[in-house]
């Protein structure tokens, strides 16, 4: 069992002929993901690493039965790629692209909510269900199947945690990178709800950072609805106020969104909070 992606995932890669799209298509195919199609307007009929290319997502869905899409197109075109995928009937869209303007994301979110479709990202590493499917850019060799669900706002920091768990022989059901933008498609709460309902997931790791109030809302949700043990880590204790720390969403505004406050609220909700990423593995091992 797992959440969102598994062996039934039939993936279409939007922007498959680009540098990033082609490179990561090869990695996803190698991993065993069912990459059934790619799109690149004007290049229909070509193939990339053996994957057939179509001019549009609706053609790709029609010919291959694709049910999930991953987007590698540049920021200016990414919102359109989301609209196209959802309009073609795709229910899970994963947007890797970094740098999408926040006002575009506001419209995308309103559109998704109307259509009942799910977006993971943007500005995220995607997701991986070890041994079944890898959708995005998470390295396949640092995960193993097991009982821990991971949800995170960052990329490489999450790799650290996966690696630390894997090194200790602790595997994962699914790892989801929800992205570092101020407005994104999937929240911590969405993933917590899915992990809580997933029979194979025994505990959850949540990796947050400064900025916004996603972690605070997740804490309230955990307190009221999550019975499985949750371990968290919050990055940015040393971050100064008012400065954007790389991620567009990682900024302490008007004194709100500090790491100390998030940690305090998570602890009050019964979440164990690690002091550093490697300690997450200790805490997870202790409650197995």
């Amino acid at each position: 069992m797992s959440i969102l992606v598994d062996k039934n995932t039939r993936l279409v890669v939007q922007g498959i002929t680009g540098r990033e799209g082609a490179f990561h298509t090869a990695r996803m195919v190698e991993y065993g993901t069912k990459v059934v199609a790619g799109t690149s307007p004007g290049k229909g009929g070509a193939a990339v690493h053996g994957v057939p290319v179509y001019d549009s997502v609706s053609q790709a869905v029609h010919h291959t039965g694709a049910n999930t899409s991953v987007i590698y197109v540049p920021a200016a075109g990414a919102p359109d790629a989301v609209y196209e995928a959802v309009s073609a009937g795709i229910h899970l869209v994963v947007c890797i692209t970094e740098g999408v303007p926040v006002l575009d994301m506001i419209k995308v979110r309103a559109f998704l909510d109307q259509k009942g479709a799910r977006l993971v990202g943007p500005n995220c590493p995607g997701l991986i269900t070890p041994g079944e499917a890898k959708v995005g850019i998470i390295p396949g060799d640092i995960v193993i199947p097991g009982p821990v669900g991971i949800v995170a706002r960052s990329g490489t920091l999450t790799y650290e945690v996966m690696y630390a768990l894997t090194m200790r022989g602790i595997g994962q059901t699914t790892c989801v990178g929800i992205g570092g933008d101020p407005i994104n498609g999937t929240s911590f709460i969405d993933c917590l709800r899915l992990f809580e309902a997933d029979a194979a997931t025994e505990q959850v790791v949540l990796i947050g950072e400064i900025g916004g109030s996603d972690e605070e809302q997740a804490a309230a949700y955990i307190r009221d609805h999550v019975k499985k043990p949750v371990t968290a880590f919050i990055a940015g204790e040393t971050a100064p106020a008012g400065k954007r720390m790389g991620h567009a969403g990682a900024i302490i505004e008007g004194g709100a969104g500090t790491a100390a406050e998030k940690i305090r609220i998570l602890r009050a909700a019964g979440v164990r909070v690690a002091q550093h990423p490697e300690q997450i593995a200790d805490l997870v091992a202790a409650s197995m």
Partner: protein, 379 residues
């Protein structure tokens, strides 16, 4: 990206928002000429990208052109929170009866822009939020419907605005939302919006932040960037598309990924040190970018040790190693460096660095502890 007050107000004016008559000056004599043209009392306002200009003495009222010239002479060149005043705005002084606050920001939790107003203008909205939150009236802006007139009426009623001002208030609020959306802003703020003695409304001070991610479609706004925004290192990092924030510690760090870069800083502190900077080289960085990053870190004389933490994914550790070697050829340094390379091509990267006299670490915590020990040994 932050805009100056005068830039923000000029953009407001394009959206029909009334602003005081005024011009910018870079010399006292220019300030005199502007004050003469405006006639009467003027306000001399330093244009620097920090808050608290008034308290720092960077905003003064002049009764005539003579005084304007003298005050401009004192304000130009003044140091406000580390920034030198190069430009002043000379505005006609407003006849202020009351000050209110009007602003638009993104409400992340609601996934909508939100218009906020308060009868307590002239003070920071965060201050009002702390001391008197009920004084702030809010309304969300639907991305497809925009701001409707009933909403601005509700806000006007909420802040106790006189009926005779509702129409003018709607025009300004709707203009501000249009300006916010049209400029891809993350903040558009009029503080204070002044009710004048003759029952008019006037945007006396303005502030805008533009979403950096949107600058590709706003070349006109991108051209407004003040090259002096932030420190030298931050401006230099921007040139190489590196994400960099200055800190005041002694350990420079270079990391791939924003979350991991913040965590690396946190672990330096946990190990008893203090980070000199935040630096994310981004995904898939090539050697020239890595070399630029290391040059920027080493240009900071306070740096007593450098910590390089790379978790290879799209970023290849051998590319990073090549960049480090390139930088070390360009910059002579005896600052101790700790490198931790994991993931894609880490073995190749480590063997390239073997002869470069770098310390190597396996885990992140170990790397942070080694960097702190090296910094303290060096100082």
């Amino acid at each position: 990206m932050k805009l100056h007050e005068y830039q923000s107000k000029r953009i407001f004016a394009q959206y029909g928002i009334p602003i005081p008559r005024g011009e910018i000056a870079t010399t006292p004599s220019e300030a005199r000429r502007i004050a003469e043209e405006l006639g009467g009392r003027v306000v001399i306002k330093s244009q620097v990208l920090v808050g608290g200009r008034g308290k720092a003495g960077g905003i003064k009222l002049a009764k005539d052109a003579d005084e304007a010239e003298g005050l401009a002479g004192r304000i130009l060149g003044m140091d406000i929170k580390g920034l030198k005043v190069e430009t002043v705005l000379v505005d006609a002084a407003a006849d202020i009866r009351q000050e209110i606050y009007l602003g638009v920001v993104i409400d992340r939790a609601a996934c909508r822009p939100v218009l906020m107003a308060s009868a307590e203008g002239g003070v920071e909205i965060e201050e009002v939020a702390r001391t008197n939150p009920s004084a702030i009236v809010k309304t969300h802006v639907d991305p497809f419907l925009g701001l409707r007139s009933y909403q601005t009426r509700d806000v006007a009623i909420g802040i106790g605005l006189a009926r005779c001002l509702w129409k003018a208030f709607h025009k300004i609020a709707a203009g501000l939302v249009e300006c916010f959306v049209g400029s891809d802003a993350s903040l558009a703020e009029i503080n204070p919006l002044v009710i004048t003695g003759d029952d008019g409304l006037l945007a006396v001070d303005g502030k805008m932040l533009i979403d950096d991610n949107s600058l590709f479609r706003h070349p006109d706004l991108a051209a407004l960037r003040d090259a002096s925004e932030g420190t030298w290192a931050e401006a230099e990092a921007r040139r190489f598309e590196l994400s960099y924030v200055d800190m005041d510690g002694e350990i420079g760090c270079m990391v791939n990924g924003a979350g991991l870069a913040m965590t690396t800083m946190d672990l330096i502190k946990l190990s008893g040190g203090a980070p000199a900077n935040f630096l994310d080289i981004g995904g898939g960085a090539k050697s020239d970018k890595v070399a630029a990053a290391l040059r920027i870190i080493l240009a900071d004389a306070r740096v007593k040790a450098v910590l390089l933490n790379i978790f290879g994914g799209i970023t290849r550790c051998d590319e990073v190693a090549a960049g480090i070697l390139e930088a070390l050829q360009q910059v002579e340094t005896n600052v101790p460096m700790v490198a931790r390379l994991v993931g894609t091509n880490a073995d190749e990267g480590r063997s390239m660095l073997a002869d470069a006299n770098l310390l190597t670490a396996t885990t992140l915590l170990e790397a942070a502890q080694m960097a702190v020990a090296a910094a303290h040994g060096a100082s």
